[in-house]
């Protein structure tokens, strides 16, 4: 056991080193005064200053977060409703079909989703910009939320609901006092997944941005193609730190949820 454990630890360390090395490399060079990624010349915060001096970039950062927050919140609501609907379907075949349809949307390539949104929006005359980006982000986030919430619902013992009903709870009360508190970890997981997906989605967003409206991923991509400026490194570093913060936040919410089990006092 001892030897085996050590070996697997080393393996794990190597894997993580490989995964994080490019990010560390990128962060390291964001402080390089030399202006390129070959050889470190000296420490500078110039690139960060450049990021903050660029108002258009700041507007794009804000846009990105507005879209991420709104789309993940709205898609969480829709997704929870969807998961409840699928959960309550009686016939097994219909249920499986619905679930598969949901999964198809998750695995289908982003480029295709993006292209079809572009065609749809221009066909029905929605101007590309905030609305089109928001709608498409909601659309690709909903299936993710569904798949995060549904297992929690299935894990829940049906007797809980029966018991609540026996004690005189109405459907609304069952939903808000029993079901939702129970699946809360799933809801949060879905919300945070949607948030990160929306923050870094490029393929879909690329198609549906327009009229001066852009998000970070699209902007970074088009800037990076013409020689990488280190201000992109600086910006990526900031984004990376932010996602780390989000993950840590999620971790703490999860832990708190674990300490006070769902629906205080419902379970023995």
């Amino acid at each position: 056991m001892g030897r085996n454990g050590k070996l697997s630890n080393v393996y794990l360390a190597v894997v993580f080193a490989i995964l994080y090395a490019p990010i560390a490399y990128l962060i390291f060079y964001s402080f390089n005064s030399g202006g390129h990624m070959r050889g470190f010349e000296g420490f500078t915060l110039e690139w960060y200053r450049e990021v903050f001096a660029d108002t258009r970039l700041l507007i794009i950062v804000l846009n990105t977060f507005i879209i991420a927050l709104l789309s993940s919140a709205i898609s969480t609501m829709l997704g929870v409703a969807g998961a409840l609907a699928i959960y309550h379907v009686r016939r097994k075949r219909t249920k499986n079909t619905l679930l598969s349809l949901n999964n198809v949307l998750i695995v289908s390539p982003d480029v295709i989703i993006g292209a079809s949104f572009l065609i749809l929006f221009t066909m029905i005359g929605i101007k590309l910009g905030f609305t089109s980006v928001l709608l498409s982000h909601i659309a690709f986030s909903v299936p993710i939320v569904v798949i995060m919430v549904l297992p929690k619902l299935q894990e829940m013992s049906p007797t809980l609901m029966d018991a609540a009903r026996d004690l005189g709870a109405g459907s609304w009360q069952i939903l808000t006092r029993v079901v939702l508190p129970y699946v809360k970890p799933g809801i949060f997981a879905g919300f945070f997944m949607a948030l990160t997906y929306s923050l870094d989605d490029f393929a879909v967003t690329f198609f549906v941005t327009g009229n001066g409206y852009s998000t970070l991923s699209v902007e970074i991509y088009s800037r990076a193609r013409q020689g990488v400026s280190l201000s992109i490194n600086a910006l990526s570093t900031l984004l990376f730190l932010l996602t780390v913060l989000l993950v840590v936040g999620y971790y703490f919410i999860n832990r708190r949820a674990a300490k006070t089990p769902a629906g205080r006092g419902l379970r023995p």
Partner: protein, 357 residues
Amino acid sequence: MKQLVRIFAIVFVAAFALMILASYLNKSQGYSGGNTLTIYNWGDYIDPDLLKEFEQETGIKVIYQTFDSNEAMLTKIEQGGTTFDVAIPSEYAISKMKEENLLVPLDHSKLPNLSNIDQRFMDLSFDEGNKYSIPYFWGTVGIVYNPELVDGLTFESWNDLWDPRLKNQILLLDGAREVIGMGLNSLGYSLNDTNEDHLQEALKKLSTLTPNVRAIVGDEIKMLLANEEAAVGLVWSGDASEIMDENDKLDYVVPEEGSNLWFDNMVIPKTASNIEGAHQFINFMLDPDHAARNAEYVGYSTPNAEALKLLPEDISEDERFYPDETLTGKLEVYDNLGKKMLSHYNDLFLEFKMHSK
């Protein structure tokens, strides 16, 4: 439940707060007023100070958007839904856009500065009479090489690439027209040649180049050459100047047999909503002083004869980027060969790629 409601309420409040902040920033920058001009250009392809100056001079707010390939730009403009007032595609994309009726004819009376453009770069095959497009930057296709790694070779001729000493040392651009064109040029043919015998001959010649070809790559060719991963590369002159900025050991040359002459031109797409402003902008960029500053910032060759006089000598006398008359006489613009011939070029290129490892 309470916790859920609370957290979602916080999320929405935060989102709206950010929205207010964003619209405040937008207003303070003037992006939300009526008088705006949307420019669709390659990333980092204009001196940002010029945009600010244009805004001050005309009171028009510029919204600057970027694309990374002619194809991406075409798709966006074809689909509509966005209002791009000025776009800057390459010449082959312009002939395509002309065919598909995506361009607004230019009013030359509103472009008095047009006379500054060198006559050599006007009235070319892809847009006769410059009805739809005005040159922005131009360049060539040539060879970037590292003198330290090539044993004294200098590449006056395309045929120098076939030197056995270059075994496994050449990077090629992943472009059918560029590579087949190089094959045709090395045999002394036009790079718009459609004669099947000549094309087969070029393919045969190219296949003997394969031992020297290390890889056929895309945009990463710049990084690979700058990092000295290979000694020689076939690239566009614009990329070459970027590579040489990164690594000053390298040199660029256009072989004497001639090569491709490419253009990025300013056009007004059908999606434009501010056609008046678009003309103002094009005229602004044609001003010698503005064009010179832009050329200095971007590092590509300006087609503006008056601007060239204003550039420092070490730029304007650099024959690598402003080749002399004899060589420019041999440079050719890609003709629009038509769909069938283009796909034949692509097939030939594919065949070449399959045989090169």
